[in-house]
Amino acid sequence: MKTGEKIKILYIDDEQNNLNGFKATFRFDYSVLIAANTSQAYDYLRDHSDIAVVLCDQRMPDKTGVQFFEEMRRTYPNPVRMLITGYTDIESVIDSVNRGHIFRYIKKPWTDNDVKSAIEEGHKFFLTHSLLAAKNQELQSAYDELGKFAYSITHDVRGPLLSVIGGLELVKEMSDLTEIRELLEMMAESVRKLDEYIKNTHEYYKLKRGMVQFTEIDFHTLMADIAALFRIVSINENVEFIHSVEQNEPFHSDEISIKMILSNLLSNAFNYQKKNAADKKVVVNIVVKDNKVTISVTDNGIGIHPDHIDNIFTMFYRATSEETGSGLGLYNVKDALNKLGGNISVESELNKGTTFTVNIPGNTHGSK
């Protein structure tokens, strides 16, 4: 519930006079829904998931309030339940507590203050409960991710480690120096892969736990910083690297996240090139306009098969057997974009190349 919004309550009673009276008394303090029977009440519960408190009269023609609560609890467990009755027999009190799991028992005739304080208390309980449910869900998804991590560690960490161990065993039986050098280079590649995995994991946790920090970003400087990192790979791998920046207005966002996004997309663009192609190319365009930045990264590499394109942002999904990939890169990109309110789209053709386009809105509040 947003602050300042009225607490939404539902009152069920078969006497129209009671309903009208109730609504007249409380409509200034609460958003009041009234129902003359339980089927009408169910319609409200279905359409208003934000109902915090349900008050119900015990004596109704089709069923008792306790019966209604007992039944309602199965489908709508969240709203706090309060029973209103003029008949104070101990049996029905015990019943309502045990079967209806009610929060309060309100005696007729009620005083406005009694009802108000009951609703306020009930609402606090509802909020705590909802918060707990949300936290539980967060916890569950954290556990699920942990499970994925644990599984990926056996392959993405243990795999390269065992390869290196295997290589070390094998080298004892080898004498040809050229072959040994070849083996050593492959072992180095395995170790680099491990390092890559650790760096990505670190990035993942920094993103998960860290708060975004909005500062003014000069994309000319940012692009120059990143370009410096990729210059060596561009020369070594013989990939033409073209980048352009168009920025005529200040732009505020989280610089670390944007750098991470750009370097991940660039790593992919450089990694997934066609091995022996002569005209390997990576193009970056950054345009800042109307308080929005659009970054596109295009390569003419191996492309992404249509079967895999929907899954590329999934954690630990690797769409290709070529080159190395931790399966975390694009997942991290997507996660960062969610935090910045941005989005990403991809266009790709097998053996022709891939273009990733990122849109990020500027944060108008500036630095905080």
Partner: protein, 131 residues
Amino acid sequence: MAQSKKLNFMVVDDSKLDCFIAEKIIKNTGKCESIRSFLQARDALAFISSTPPDEHSHTILLVDIQMPVMNGFQFVEEFEKLPKEIIEKYTIYIISSSINETDLSKVHNYKSVKQFLNKPLTSNNLSVLLG
């Protein structure tokens, strides 16, 4: 399989290093007639299904589990759909770094898989398996 006969080997693993290691170790046994490595399970499957079975040869197939695109289990499932006279010519060993119980127990579900081997492949455990 007769002990005296030389064997063909096939390695299916997305790690180049693991393929290299397996090739070297297998060649060192001296029991190897031919060896082929595939970085992609799909390529291996295509090769197997398009190669007519040779009466006089038998192939030992070492397959990794966790591979992108088509994993080891998916590979075995597809392999088991091939004609009987092809299947007969291969003995499959799953070789993996996995210590995941689900992976390990899954291995028993496949008729064509003879055994699970832990990575890394060494001359010792290869010679045990070759008898």
